[in-house]
Subunit: 192 residues, 2 copies
């Protein structure tokens, strides 16, 4: 029983992704997803508060990785070094084996504004986690919020690249995008 | 008739904000908002596809200001200079007179995750507009996406500050946050 239960969310997620990809997100019900793995709608809603949440299973683990990444940064690390540490920790989830799943998931999200909003909210949660970690390190509120939001900008761009680009790992792409951020902002802005 | 019609979305928006603030977003219906300004639910839905959209009226004007800001930047402007120009154009909306409205609106949004997601989506639309403008200027895709996302990071942080901070204008706050972004990323990152 305990062994079964452990994998249930993952099984529901896999089945949901297949149904969403073939029939469309709107056209698939929670009951159909549950049925596809021999479960009831009631079981589905024991794991997920609503249908779309099945695509966001594992989110809490990302938030926790983010927190651990921040904690692992050196005590004297600069805010952007802390952000980079958080991105490395989060990036560990996006392995080569995960790429096909992530691509299929993204294809579903791209077709549904409601899911795009939910995905944005997920990134906002990660940003809030990094910002809180920076404030705990004594970084001022504006700087902490800005560094965290920029971290999520890097994550979003790197993630998009990773879905498209077969050759490089998530870690390599993220390091390149972070370097690009530094290049972009290297020149001082004219006061206008 | 035409004169009336011109202000209808704004009147609905104002009434909605008052009802959301006093009764809560969930507890207020589109029919009640319409009634508060002597209109029918049907009229409400002629202007807004769903209840929450009433809080996002004017969004298209922001996107267009963003586009105009990008177009006004010098042909040889760096990507971050183009972003700064877009932020200045968008910032023109957030006048001193608007601040109480923006604060009341934000208080409603802060209490509802669905509205927070919708707000994030609005920022994503602005980012997409800036990124498209940068690509039209020959900026590479990754750089364009990153600069645009960082622009929205600056906007989000500046907007939060502006809601809290009475002393400075939106333009001043944005300039400071942009300068902070440059400071944050001034030191090169160690390769890790």
């Amino acid at each position: 029983m305990a062994r079964w239960a452990a994998g249930t969310p993952e099984r529901l997620q896999k089945a949901a992704l297949e149904l969403f990809a073939t029939r469309g997100f709107e056209q698939t019900t929670a009951a159909e997803i549950a049925e596809a793995v021999g479960l009831t709608e009631r079981t589905f809603f024991r794991h997920f508060s609503e249908k779309r949440e099945v695509l966001f299973h594992g989110q809490q683990a990302l938030v926790e990785a983010c927190r651990a990444g921040v904690a692992q940064a050196q005590p004297d690390a600069s805010p952007m070094e802390v952000v980079a540490a958080a991105l490395r920790a989060v990036g560990a989830f996006f392995t080569e084996e995960r790429r096909p799943f992530s691509r299929a998931r993204q294809a579903v999200i791209d077709q549904n504004p409601q899911l795009q909003e939910r995905e944005r909210h997920k990134l906002a949660n990660l940003a809030a986690e990094i910002a809180a970690g920076l404030r705990d390190r004594g970084v001022g509120e504006v700087t902490a919020a800005l560094a965290a939001e920029c971290g999520m900008a890097v994550f979003a761009v790197a993630f998009g690249q990773w879905l498209r680009d077969d050759a490089r790992s998530f870690a390599e792409i993220t390091a390149d995008v972070l370097a690009e951020l530094h290049r972009l902002t290297a020149a001082p802005l004219p006061q206008g």
